[in-house]
Structure formats: structure tokens, C-alpha cells
Assembly symmetry: D2
Homo-oligomer: 341 residues x 4
């Protein structure tokens, strides 16, 4: 099958490669010519402009956009006038699902089909395959199934779920690693929650490893003043733990084995102090939208929220609140801030 | 009544003054001679050593310790051998209530009475009076009631609680601002929870003011990349709010009026940017112990914990966890940390 | 000054009374005739329909809506066609500030002025006055100042903030209990955050009192099985605390004195077990919107979120998540749920 | 190697079987004779009493206890008098690491070696192997390595960590699934944190799935009153999602693949409504201790705490706090609780 790919960053580039390896052909476009050139060498058809890109696609055209969420709408505005009834536009990035619902409605009168695909897998997707969560019309999604099947990991060596019914096995492609989740927006909705969960999982490991990291705090001499909580029992915090090896041992047989743990262990093997990082953690939207959806639904998500807030605070966004606390403490107790060590 | 006070810091000094104004006499001791001299000028009897201090107290002696929690036990070890059966030792600082239970048991065979008093009021207590939460034997507590009554604020102009029963009014001194809460440790247990609540209240205001502080974020131009959550609707964040005046207006008639708000408003009037503060917020034990007690009891305290953790993070104790998150993001997504602005 | 009030529930009714006591006249309307009749007896001018209501107002008309947020737009759609250029519409309820911005823009071409007023004070406002947070055009807000000044508490016996500048005192009405916070939406934005803080304060007290409530847990005999966390030191949880008297003593001189504490103490004096309540806690929007705004701003609000989520969970919205946990525990550990006691 | 096992519940029974399959011999004891009989049929040597059990063990004896944390000390008190210098006692259950430190010190003068082993793997451990986190003296741990190697999963088909150094590979057994973490208590400390993380991971999935579960909330008609937060945009919550298939698709190629997800998917395939569960979630100690350790260390653990508190609340331990909130709302706003639906 032929696919047109706009956006050849980390994700788009690898996806084109995986599709071509799977026997599909690709027309590609990106604002950076060097990204196009790289894929041309691997067999893709490059294009010099959006118009050129569209002209090289067979009808009905299949256009996959793999772009930062913030620029999808402007790109869409540029390409839609070049498309025709029956063409398909796929947003495989991390768009807000509200936008999917709107876009699908806007494109419907033009006869252009819009499909939203939440794509998980990161830089490993080229080899490992991408988990695809798909929203849109049933027929369009089925039409695209050869592409989804190639991008997805396939059944692989993941053990089958014993309790899965034969009916589910017959009607759903979930075992192949892609799933039509529902109408427009459903793909990104499910991907959004996936990322919300991801934030929570990551924070759970990070907090636990931080507790291990400070397990030798009893060896430090603490100050004794009214500003400092005394450590009552320093004898319980005398451990110098090898955090890399601990994360390694957890990879086998423990309840907390996971792919994220695999990655974490590898990073810790490289440098258990992680000194190359400053600890300023970005967030790219889905975590926030998950909380918004939860609040709209009235569903408590304390863990997912705490994970998100930890990222905000890592970037200093809690500074003013902390200053307010210091000002209050000075106000009622005459407490002075202690200097950083 | 005569009282002996050990520890003439912010709290102890003011309490001696308030007691002397109320007609009591005081013998005072502190490791810093200048603290003693200051109170001598106001009429207190100074002492040159613990032995001198004890010798100047009439029997049964009343010794009030107002010391950092971390040094109470060593001070107690020094003074107890100088005391006699029937003497009373009061710990008015922020001791862990577990220690009260232990100390009371240790002193019992010697016939020395131990009373734990949680003291709230801060630097304003001299004028405003101290809220006293008291644990210990009923008789001893009643014996000390003249002292408690003087230290406490009294009924003052706080409106009576309409639903309070006549029986409560007759049997309890709560309306005067001091209360015998229960046996040994009960005073500090209640004070511990008081401070746990205090942390939660402070954080609630601080977070809310931080939301107001950033209400003009829509005026900033945001980057559009895959690392940054886009601000969908900058038009909703165009407010330059006068936070000092807002905290002022809340002081009258709102649901969130409080003494902490009064102090906060005053601090904000001084400098709404709070630029003299770095935002490194100490915690002095009670907040931690409240969470420990809650966990022992199986009682969920998400708000009080979040308030405590915010203080930990304000001091950089989340750094390693954040580095783990950055390492994970680099691992699965090839994400790089964005530099601090 | 004459005011027209639509919506005569708990809040609207009392506000009309307070305005009339302050010398203003009122035309009133409500879907329930009995609510109108009650205020007519107190001197208000009732009306039989919206058209009747509008016809009885002098120009430029001042229409104050005091309605549930969910029905403001439909009411506005009904009344706007009856109004004229120069008229003023005030939304004094708990609208989302996004709606204020939209409405103000929609009404602008018609020459109708829209003012949003966040109103705090609850059922006590009639006597205590209402704290008013106001958004809209400067001139319109100033035109309405006689009404705001009457509804607000005034300076009262709240101590002045010592650090407040003379300039602030001259230019701002905050000390009187009402404040023009900024352009359209600013009033409800500030009120939204006020309520977000309110949720946090309430939860802080509630959690702390719950810790006190369970302080006798060591008296219960615990089961010893692999499903139950053992209580290591039951001797530390032997306190039968008088929670009503503790909340009473905190009202005087403590750091956590507040109006919410006053109300809580009174409720506890009535029945410390609070057995008339089931503990299903509603939330009416502002708490949710505060979190949404915080997330848009990238501001961490763990305390305010935890408070909101506690309410969600109190209504059973965490049920499915808890079932997932039980299913997982059964899956990896063969753990069975323990029955409710 | 010969091992003596006390405690033949879910965990102990399977471990004995796995050891015997691996060529080790076992002497077993349990308070329930039927548990002993079952293992005798598989080749284990049963015993009629602790004395009988000890007499059947070759010296130096190796005694592995697999018991609920709450009864380890009483069992230890019973067996220690029967042991001799050079014998080894292993606590493989979920003891608090403080107890390990104490026990190791108490047994040292008797020449009895104490080893603490955190054991993860649950009911699947028999086939999958157990992840073992070990604390104690180096020599004793090395002496027991044949047992640990058999219980652990071994390298298996888990991919090697690319960044792991050759030195680590040579000096550490982590890749085999067991690790000597440090001196006494280190094993249970690491296991404690493992479980703390486990709680966090579980809650992250549970919250996310709950958001998916309520994704059709826009189809419900909401009440419009001042007690209810209006759902502004019901059109965004119209999804009827197949949660079982979504968890299935996430198992392949997504960032959140994990063993816990595998288990969850299987449970959801069985019954996506999870109607056999009431949602009362137990906690067995480690999650609590993780938070205590974090607080002692001053390390923020908001995610792990939130996960723990969710369990507390699932058992109704937030009831009193929620009643306090309802009482406050009635107090300031005249709000009445809405009945359960």
C-alpha cells in the first residue's frame, strides 16, 4: 500500500522505514530537506512541496501526519485544499482528542476521511513495532489495516491472555498490537490515558529509586535546631545500595517488571548517579489532558496528577508557592529560611 | 505561681514575659547568658547553671522546658537528677508524643510528674496568648491551671460556639484557650495534628496564590515543539492580578478568612513578589509525625502529605527522582531535557 | 440605587434583603412565585415574568443574576432581547470565567455591559456581608459601587494589614470587602481560586480531625494475617479524644484559627460523631476549574487536587479503580478481598 | 542442599516445590498438618513439631520462615532455643526491616546467622521463579547461593542490559534474579520499596482504566443545580470503550507494557466489569513502611502515598473526614448532601 508521510522527525522517519521494510511504498515531506533526503536513500519518494507531495500520491490518497500537536492544524489547513473527496488524513501524533472530533466534522462535508492514531513505542518502534490506538470510521480504519498491521508489533512472543474469549480473538486486532477503539477521537483519547498512566508508572519508579538513593541518610550528621525535623533513628538509614543492580534484579521474576524498568536499569548501569541530567522534566500534553478528562468525568486520579505535578515542580513552577510558605513561616513563627547547602 | 523556664528562644522568652505580666514569678535558664540577662531586666530570676536554677525553685518545683525537640532528652537527663519527688516537668516544645509516653513512664518511679504541652501561637503569642494542648495526669494538670490560664488567650472576642453544651462549658477550659486533652502524649499528639493541618492550610493558600500569580501566562509566547504542552487558549490567561489586594479582600466576609490569611496578606502587601525568599521551606517534625500516625491508623491524608512533600521538594529532595524521569524519557523517546530559561 | 435580582435561592434572597436594609430598592424575579412573595413582604417589587421584571427597572437597568452556573446562559438568552444599550447584567453566581469572557464579548455589540462577580459568604452573608470579587469594565464597576459597598462586609473589626501601602489604601476597595480584580472573567477567576483554596482548607481540617478520630485504634484487636498491615505499636494509639473541645481550643490563639474552624467546632459540638451525614460530598465546579487552570498554567496544585479527588471518591467514583486493584492482587498474589466489617 | 521451611501457605508451599524440582531436599513444618501432608507426597520430609523439625535438619541448619510479618517474632522465639551456633535463620516473608536489624543483633551473640530475603513473584513464582532481595552477612549469603539460584528465575529470556559493565556482570548475581543488597535489613528494605513502587504502578493503571471506564459519561443526563458541577461538553464523553481489548493492545509495543498489565488484561478479559469485586483493597505493610522511610529521609513520594491512601479510602477509612466536609458545607452554605443514586 502507498502512504504519504508528513513530518519526518524521530517518529515519522522510523515509521516510514518500518513501512517500507514491510513492503509498502512511501511519499515523504518535511520542512527540513535533509530529513527527506535520508529517506530517499532508503527508497522513499521525496517531495519538494506539499503540492508536489500530494501530486505524487495515488487516489484515494493516504496522508499520515506525524507532527507536534501544536502545528497540526496549520499543516492541515495547508494540505486540505489540495485533497479530494475520498482521500484519508491520519493524525498519528499526540493531538488532543477534542481537535480530532472537530477536524473530522470539518472534513466530513468535503468527503475527506479523518483518522486519529495514538502511536506508542518511541525510538524503539522501528524494531519493536508501534502500539496503535485508532479512532475513526470503521470502513476507513479497515481500509488502512495493511498499514496498521505493518507498523504494529504483531503477536510476537508476548504470551496470549488466557481468559480472552474466542469472539474477541476473532473480532479484534488487539493481539496484533493495533486496535480500532471507537469513533473520531477515540484513538487519541486512549493514547492520552496511556500516557497519563505512563507518567504515573514513571513517577512510581522514580520515587521508589529516590527512597533507595537516600537510604544512607543516617550517616550524615544532622543539625539540631527548631527548623529541622530530627532523624530519630539514624541506625535505620545506613545502607549504600547499588541501585543499578537492584533495578537489574527486579527485571526478573518481580511483580514490577516492565519495559520502563528495563530502560531504567540500562540508564542506571550507564551512570547510577544520572549526573548528566538536571532533572527538568518536560510534559507534552497528554498527561495534562488525562487529568482534565478525569476531572470532567469526576474520576479521582491522585496518582496521575501527582506524577504530572512533580514534573511541573521539577521545572520550578512551584517557586512562588514555596515563597508564600516561607513568608507565612516568617510571619507567624519568625522562622528564617535555611540556606541551600 | 512560680515557674522555672529552660530555653529562652523566641517562644520561651515571650512566655516568661506573658507569665510575669500575669502576676507569676519566673526563674529562668538558657545556655546563652544574654537571653537570661534580658529577662532579668524584666523581673525574672536568672540562674547560672541548672543546679542554680533548680535551687531557686520552690517545691514542688515546676520546670517548663521550651527547647528544640532534638535536645529535650539530653536536657532532661541533666536536670532530673537534681529534682525530687513531687516536682513537675513540662515539655512545652514540639516533642514527638512517643517520647512523652516514654518519659512519663521513666519519671513515674521517681515520683516526678511529666506534662506535655503543645503550644501554638508563634511570635504573636506574647500579645495574643498561646493555644495550649495538654497531656498528663489530671491532678497535675489542674495544679498548673493558673499558669495555663495566663499563657492562654482567654475567651477574648472570639464568638462562643452556639451548639456547645452547658456540660462542656462547665467541664472544659477549651473556651479559655487551653485544654487537658488526655494522658501523657495527648497534648503533643493534638499539637502534632494541629501542625499537620497547619501545613495543609498553608499549602492550600500557597497553591491558590500561585495559580493567581501565573494568570497572565497567556501573554507569553510559547514554543511549539514535541516537548512542550501547548497552551490551547492563551486568551484565558491574560490577567495581571494584584495578589496583595486579593488576599486583602478575602479577609472580609469570605469563606477562607483565617489568621494565616491575615499574615499572608500582610507579607504580600510588603512585597507581592516575595523576592526576599528563596522558597526553601523547612519542616520541623510534626508534619512528618502526623503522616506517620495517619498511616499507622490507616487514615488517608493526601492533603497533609502533599503539603509535606511540597516542602521536601522545595529543598531539592526530589532531584534524583526527576533525574530518573529524564533518563527514562531519554531512553524510550530520545527526549532531551530543555535547558532552564 | 435600584437593582433587579433574578434567582431568589439561598444566596439571592439574602442579598436582596441586605441591599434593602442598606437603602436600595429591588425588583425581583424567580421561577418559584413563593420566593417572590416572601421578598415582596419585605418591601421588594415582585414581577410576574421576565418581561414584567424588565419593565419595572429604571434605565440604565441593573440586572443581577444569582443562578446555578448551568442555567445562566439560557436565562441570559431569555432576558437579553428585553434589554437595551447601556443596561448592565451581573452574574453573581459561580459561572466558569471562560463563559464570562464569551458573554461580555457577545453583549458588547449590543451596548450591554456584563459584570462577573464572585460572591463568597454563604448563608451567613446576610449578617456578615459578602466578599465580592469583581470582573468587568472599570466604569461599569464604579457605577455599581454603591451596591457592592452595601453587599460587602465593610472594614468591620478586622485588623488593618500593617504593611499595606497608603497608595493601595487609596486606590483599592479591598478593605471594604469588595475588589475590582480585572477585566471580564477576573472576578470569577479569583472566586474560582478562592473556592479551590476553600476545598484545600476544608480537607486539611477534615483529614486532621480524622487522625484524631482514630487515635484510639490501638484499643482494637487486630487480625494477624498476610492481608493486614500489623499495627506495630498499639500503645501509641490509646487516646479517646474529645474532638469538639479540641476544635474549640484551637479557635483561640492557635495558628489554625479560621472561620471554617469556627463552623466546624460548632458542628462538632452538636454531634461529634456527625452521624447525620453520610459523607457524600458534592463539588460545584470551581474546584474542578481551579485544577484545570493550574494545569493550563503548569502550576502544581497537589493539595487542591487531593481535596477535589477526595470528594469524587466520597461519592464512589473510585469504585472501578479499586476493583481493578483487587483484580490485580487476585491475579499476582491470589489475594482475596476481605469482607467489610 | 537441605532446607527447612516453616510456613507452607501460598508462598512457602510453592517455594518448597521449586526447590525440590531443583534438586534440593526439604524438611517442612506448618501449624496445619494438611499443608505438611501435601508436600510430603511430593517428596518433602514432614515434621510433627518444631522440635521434630529442627532434629531432622543437618547442621549447620538452614531454616527458612515464610510467615505473615505479624507472627515472625513469636515463631522465632519458639525456634531459636532449639538452634545452635552456626545455624542460619532466613525470614523470607514481608517483615519490617527494622525487625531484621534487631533480630540479627539479638541472634549474633548466639552465633546464629540471620538473613532477610524479600521475595517477589506471587503465585506465579513456582513456574516463573522468585525475585530475591537479600540482606545479611556476605559469607552466609554466599553459603546459601545454591538455594537462591534455584528459587530465582535465572537469566531466562529477559534481554541483557546493554550498558551493564563487565565488572557488574562478574560480581553481581542480579541477572540471575537474586541479589545480596547489603547488611541485615537491606533485603527487606529493598523489597519494601519494591512493594511501594508496586502500589504506585497498580494505582496508575487503575486510575487510567477508570478514566476509560467513564468515557461515556456524556451520555448520561446531568442534573442542573448548585450542588453539581456541570459537564460543559458532553460531546467529548461519548465513548463506549472495550477496556479489555485496550489493555490487550497495550501489551504489545506500548511504553506501558508490564507484567502487571498482562495480569490486568487477563482479569478484564474474564469480566471487564470486574463485578465479582467489591473494591475493598488491603495493604500488607510494605507500602506503609515505604512512606515512613521516605518521610524519615525527607524524600517526597506523592505518587506512592496517593496509591496507599486510595487503598485506605477503599475500605471506608475516609468516612469521618468526608462527614466533616459535609458538616462544613452545611455550616457555611446550607448545602445538603445529595443521596446516593
Amino acid at each position: 500500500m502507498q502512504i504519504g508521510m508528513i513530518g519526518l522527525g524521530r517518529m515519522g522517519n522510523n515509521m516510514v522505514q518500518r513501512l517500507m521494510r514491510g513492503g509498502h511504498s512511501a511519499v515523504v515531506f518535511d520542512a527540513r530537506p535533509e530529513s527527506i533526503a535520508g529517506l530517499e536513500q532508503l527508497g522513499a519518494t521525496g517531495s519538494k512541496s506539499l503540492a508536489d507531495f500530494v501530486s505524487k500520491l495515488a487516489k484515494p490518497r493516504v496522508v499520515w501526519m506525524m507532527l507536534p500537536a501544536a502545528i497540526v492544524d496549520q499543516e492541515l489547513a495547508a494540505i486540505v485544499p489540495l485533497l479530494e473527496e475520498g482521500d484519508i488524513v491520519i493524525d498519528g501524533g499526540n493531538s488532543y482528542y477534542h481537535d480530532d472530533i472537530r477536524r473530522a466534522e470539518e472534513l466530513k462535508p468535503k468527503g475527506i476521511h479523518y483518522v486519529d492514531v495514538g502511536t506508542s513505542g518511541g525510538v524503539f518502534g522501528l524494531e519493536r513495532g508501534y502500539c496503535l490506538m485508532i479512532g475513526g470510521e470503521k470502513e476507513t480504519v479497515e481500509h488502512l489495516s495493511p498499514i496498521f498491521a505493518t507498523l504494529a508489533p504483531g503477536v510476537g512472543d508476548v504470551a496470549p491472555s488466557k481468559m480472552r474469549s474466542e469472539e474477541a480473538a476473532k473480532n479484534s486486532t488487539a493481539e496484533q498490537g493495533y486496535l480500532h477503539c471507537g469513533p473520531s477521537g477515540a484513538g487519541h483519547f486512549v493514547k492520552m490515558v496511556h500516557n497519563g498512566i505512563e507518567y504515573g508508572l514513571m513517577a512510581a519508579y522514580a520515587e521508589g529509586l529516590n527512597v533507595l538513593h537516600h537510604a544512607n541518610i543516617g550517616k550524615q550528621t544532622a543539625e539540631k535546631d527548631a527548623e529541622t525535623a530530627p532523624l530519630s533513628h539514624p541506625q535505620y538509614y545506613q545502607y549504600d545500595l547499588d541501585i543499578a543492580e537492584i533495578s537489574e534484579v527486579w527485571r526478573r521474576g518481580s511483580v514490577i517488571t516492565s519495559w520502563l524498568l528495563d530502560l531504567t536499569a540500562d540508564a542506571l548501569h550507564g551512570d547510577a548517579a544520572l549526573s548528566q541530567y538536571a532533572g527538568r522534566v518536560s510534559d507534552s500534553g497528554e498527561g495534562r489532558w488525562t487529568i482534565s478528562a478525569a476531572i470532567d468525568e469526576g474520576v479521582p486520579t491522585p496518582v496521575l496528577s501527582a506524577a504530572l505535578y512533580g514534573r511541573f515542580a521539577s521545572r520550578g513552577n512551584d517557586d512562588y508557592a514555596n515563597k508564600v510558605l516561607s513568608a507565612m513561616r516568617a510571619g507567624f513563627g519568625g522562622h528564617h529560611e535555611k540556606p541551600a547547602k
